[in-house]
């Protein structure tokens, strides 16, 4: 404690430089936390999916629909306890600056299949009653300032024209990985508008036991193997993971560039800290002539490095954690559940610790080992 004043005085020697060095570390660790959270969020999305849900697609590709009459045949397969279906709509709202996904769904079976989408009972009933109604995520309501009961017009791109829906409900995800800025509307309304009833984009099949997933998926695909629209069935997790793999290279790129940027900033700040220490060679010699032992001088220099790096790390990682949480950030729906994980914070703290050692150890050892007479001659 006696030497705290000495440590603080040294840190206050070039206040602007100390501030910039600390800010550099804070920025580096903020970037690190942000970029790593992109990667962990994509990975978490890839892992998400109900263990008891399978997704059945057209074997040719997701853009090719499946006949709606598959639903009854799917329900008849042993082990299947529920079936629902959905269609990607792909519309634009307003100036289209804020993208969000819209899906035509079979209202009752879809909400039953996804209890993670929490909708108040009265709103759910209204959705079931009114054909042209829609349920939107809480975030969409906040972003666009919509209100329940308001009419919202979406411009169709795949299915052209103005599509007006009445917002009848708001869903709140009970699982943070589930996107909260989607719009779902009724499939029968969709069928009616496009005048082409009887198609589904994909099916979601609920099964009795996750252990039966392989067997049931095979049974589904076998059932439609020789039909005009053969299917490809997998777990919902695998389905989400296939979307996540589209991020694959982005993750790699972000990870690589991000780490390079972080490393560069850290090297600059480490250099600033070492330079600051080298400037004080004479003072170290004076302290040694007074009788300051090597271990104390080592400790003082290391303490300075610790204060700068730990404050920088606390600010950088803390701001990342609080900022994304407070802003409920999800990259316009692309990264649902975007939140800095404990693992990222621990890793960031580890980097800060390494930086402290890298930047503090060399000057600290130099300060401790430098013979007084050599240090005095160097500056005289």
């Amino acid at each position: 404690m006696k030497y705290v004043r000495l440590v603080l005085a040294n840190l206050g020697r070039h206040k602007w430089r100390t501030f910039l060095t600390t800010a550099g570390i804070a920025l580096a660790l903020f970037l690190f936390a942000s970029l790593r959270t992109v990667v962990t969020t994509i990975a978490a999305t890839a892992q998400w999916g109900g263990a008891r849900r399978l997704v059945t697609l057209n074997a040719t590709g997701i853009v090719f629909p499946l006949p709606l009459n598959y639903a009854e045949r799917l329900r008849a397969i042993p082990g299947v306890t529920g079936v629902t279906w959905a269609n990607w709509f792909g519309g634009r709202y307003g100036d289209n600056k804020r993208f969000f996904g819209q899906f035509a769904v079979d209202a009752e079976s879809y909400l039953a299949m996804y209890p993670e989408m929490s909708v108040p009972d009265d709103q759910r009933e209204a959705f079931f009653r009114e054909k042209g109604s829609a349920i939107v995520g809480r975030r969409l309501l906040d972003v666009f300032g919509w209100k329940v009961g308001q009419d919202v017009t979406i411009q169709g791109t795949i299915f052209p024209g103005d599509w007006t829906f009445t917002v009848r409900g708001v869903y709140t995800p009970t699982d943070k990985v589930l996107n909260d800025d989607m719009m779902i509307f009724r499939h029968d309304f969709f069928d009616e508008k496009i005048g082409r009833a009887g198609i589904a984009g994909w099916y979601v099949v609920q099964i009795d036991d996750p252990d039966h997933a392989g067997r049931i998926a095979k049974a589904i695909d076998d059932l439609f193997r020789n039909s005009s629209s053969p299917t490809k069935t997998g777990t919902e997790q695998a389905f989400n993971a296939s979307f996540a793999t589209m991020w694959g290279n982005v993750s790699l790129l972000m990870g690589t560039i991000g780490l390079a940027v972080v490393f560069a900033i850290l090297m600059v700040t480490a250099n600033a800290m070492m330079m600051s220490s080298r400037e004080r060679t004479r003072e170290v010699a004076v302290l040694k002539s007074i009788g300051f032992p090597d271990r104390v001088l080592f400790g003082v220099v290391m303490a300075e490095a610790a204060v700068i790096t730990l404050i920088g790390a606390a600010v950088g990682l803390g701001v990342a954690k609080v900022l994304y949480q407070a802003a409920n950030f999800n990259a316009a729906g692309f990264l649902p559940g975007f939140s800095v994980t404990t693992g990222t914070l621990v890793l960031g703290a580890g980097i800060a610790l390494l930086l402290m050692l890298a930047s503090g150890l060399v000057p600290a050892i130099q300060a401790a080992r430098q013979p007084i007479i050599v240090a005095l001659r160097r500056v005289e």
Partner: protein, 230 residues
């Protein structure tokens, strides 16, 4: 009684391929309670001798004993606490840490002791009072004159009540008036407080403040004279 005993000390430096012998068998005693000035031209070895006695540097061979401690054979780890306890050192310039106030600079040697904060405070204020800087305790070095800086350094050198105070050209950068103040202070420390003082200088006027003047030339003690204390 000799406080400092220097016996057959050799010291040589290597400058490139050239070997420079500073001392080739210097033997010298410095009595306790004395005020000794080391004089000589540049390169005569005065500062080197002071550094050797303070344990800041090591002789190539020979022995140096200060108050019974074999300084020349002590390890750096042993020398640090020994210096803290027995040596007060003042350089020609840049003695003070610019980020600390006069008070904090003077307190530095006491941080190495077991004294309480209150005891440290009393000692620091006393030392600053002795050097006549009681009204400058909160001033940073940049806010002090050259003379005041040196007096602060002297306060720091005496605050832990060391066995010997060593000064390397303490007036070398000062004007006449400031030099007088510093020299008067040294005389007072020696006469009033009984401090053993070793002063390196090439200024005859400064040396005349001491009770004994030793003349070095090319590492050899060429003359010892009793100064007429003014």
């Amino acid at each position: 009684m000799a406080l400092v005993e220097i016996r057959d000390v050799h010291k040589s430096f290597q400058r490139g391929s050239e070997k420079i012998d500073v001392f080739a068998g210097l033997t010298l005693d410095v009595p306790q309670g004395s005020f000794t000035a080391l004089m000589g031209p540049s390169g005569s070895g005065k500062s080197t001798l002071l550094n050797l006695v303070a344990g800041l540097d090591r002789p190539t061979s020979g022995s140096i004993t200060v108050a019974g401690a074999p300084v020349s054979s002590m390890s750096p780890g042993q020398l640090a606490p020994w210096r803290a306890r027995h040596v007060g050192f003042v350089f020609q310039q840049l003695n003070l840490l610019p980020v600390l106030t006069a008070y904090q600079n003077v307190e530095l040697p006491l941080l190495l002791t077991r004294l309480s904060r209150k005891e440290r405070d009393e000692r620091v204020r006393l030392a600053l009072d002795v050097v006549g800087l009681s009204d400058r305790i909160k001033h940073f070095p940049r806010q002090l004159s050259g003379g005041q800086e040196q007096r602060t350094a002297i306060a720091r050198a005496i605050v832990a009540d060391p066995t010997v105070v060593m000064l390397d050209e303490p007036t070398g950068q000062l004007d006449a008036r400031s030099s007088q103040d510093v020299l008067a202070l040294l005389r007072r420390l020696n006469q009033e407080f009984g401090k053993t003082i070793l002063l390196v200088t090439h200024d005859a006027h400064a040396a005349a403040t001491a009770s004994t003047i030793l003349h070095l030339d090319k590492g050899v003690l060429v003359e010892r004279e009793k100064a007429a204390v003014s």
